[in-house]
């Protein structure tokens, strides 16, 4: 039994990674990976929403009529996200301020809809919960790697701490402005997808 859930989770992280394999959630991956911290917050909140949207939709899977299933999924996801947002605003105001626009971005994140559509509607609640967890971690993992590279090359820091010493700047080193913009993220994500695919081919 343990192995089954374990493999559902690892599948989301590696062999069926939402960003690298399913190519979902690219838009938010471009937007929030300028800084390590924002990527972390986004990854964490998305994972949380994914787990519970998977669970709820899977519980209702036999009730939801096929012809309006996407609308139903969207209502459930949006309700969940709004409630979380409201609770954060009331009890964890500082965190809710940091999350700012991310909360809204979660509703429209195609990974949540994608997994609801292709997994939660056909599988048992706890399995869908694990699938949400796995895909959430998979997404966060890519986000963190991209953010790490972008922040290091674009701002010369890691998670807000300066790592490039001042004397390097003095002798002419410059931060890579391209990394702060969306094209920089496209290039990094492209390279990661390539790396992950060739690594997988190598292990086969």
């Amino acid at each position: 039994m343990k192995n089954k859930y374990y493999s559902i989770i690892t599948e989301g992280i590696f062999s069926n990674n939402p960003v690298a394999k399913q190519v979902l959630g690219i838009c938010s991956a471009l937007a929030v990976t300028v800084k390590f911290k924002t990527a972390f917050v986004m990854g964490f909140s998305l994972t949380f929403v994914m787990m519970f949207s998977g669970l709820t939709i899977s519980l209702l899977r036999n009730l939801i009529p096929r012809n309006i299933r996407i609308i139903a999924e969207l209502i459930i996801i949006a309700t969940l996200v709004i409630i979380i947002d409201q609770v954060l605003k009331a009890y964890l105001y500082d965190i809710s301020k940091q999350l700012s626009v991310f909360i809204g971005l979660i509703i429209t994140n195609c990974i949540v809809m994608g997994r609801a559509e292709s997994y939660a509607l056909m599988n048992k609640p706890f399995e869908s919960f694990c699938d949400g967890l796995g895909n959430g971690i998979g997404y966060s993992f890519i986000l963190l790697v991209v953010a790490f590279i972008r922040e290091l090359l674009g701002s010369g820091s890691i998670a807000g701490f300066k790592v490039i010493p001042d004397y390097l700047y003095k002798i002419g080193y410059q931060d890579m402005g391209l990394m702060l913009l969306a094209p920089g993220a496209f290039i990094v994500i492209g390279l990661i997808v390539w790396l992950m695919n060739s690594f997988e081919k190598g292990t086969k």
């Binding site: 937007a31 929030v32 990976t33 300028v34 800084k35 924002t38 009730l63 939801i64 009529p65 012809n67 309006i68 609308i71 139903a72 209502i75 459930i76 949006a78 309700t79 709004i82 409630i83 409201q86 609770v87 605003k89 009331a90 009890y91 105001y93 301020k97 700012s100 626009v101 991310f102 931060d175 402005g177 702060l180 913009l181």
Partner: protein
Amino acid sequence: MSEDTTERIRGVIFAAILSCVCGLLIVTTVSTLKDRQDKNILNDKRINILKSVGLIKENIKLSFNEISRLYTENISSYYVDSDGEILPDNSDVSKKIKIYFYLKDGAIEAYIIPIDTRGLWGKILGYLALQSDGSTIRGFTVYSHGETPGLGGEIESKWFRNNFVGKKIVDQQYDFVSISVAKGKTTEKNAENYVDGISGATLTGQFLTTGLKQILMNYEPVSLRFRSGSIGKKFKLGGSPGNNEK
């Protein structure tokens, strides 16, 4: 009834029930949490007002009551009319704009202007505090914005806000020029009236520049009075100061 029709009716009923349940859930959450949220928002505004004049240092957490005490002890809210006349909180002149004073021993130490302007994606809300000389910036804070985190969102970061401290809104002849966000770093030539820009967020900077100029223009009558010394440290305030910031 054909199978198709039953399916449709089932869809409509399901959608209606689901919407009602979800709607009810949201309404309950929102209405039960409203008071707490309002309290947080008020507290956050106070923190930002206090921060803009330097009464709260960065990274120091204070309880709600401590902030409330600090606020009522030091900050009073007033209005100014279009001639720069200071009006008490309860006056009913139609064209009035909000202003806060940081009072120290009965004298005005600094005045605080609420910032409410357009950003690239949404409103930028914050406070700009000016010294009682009417030309030097004491502090700048942002408490709400919709800019992209990591790019335009950097306007709320410490380095960007600290950028403003000590800058002037006037040129060397004491004529009003406002404060602008530079594209990239400031140069030695424009350092007095410009702050360093954020790389990757030129447009946010432009919107902020335009907005700040417009707002400071509106407050120019009162700034002029501070600059000429007619409301200086010795000025006695008439009327009763208010402490509510609605």
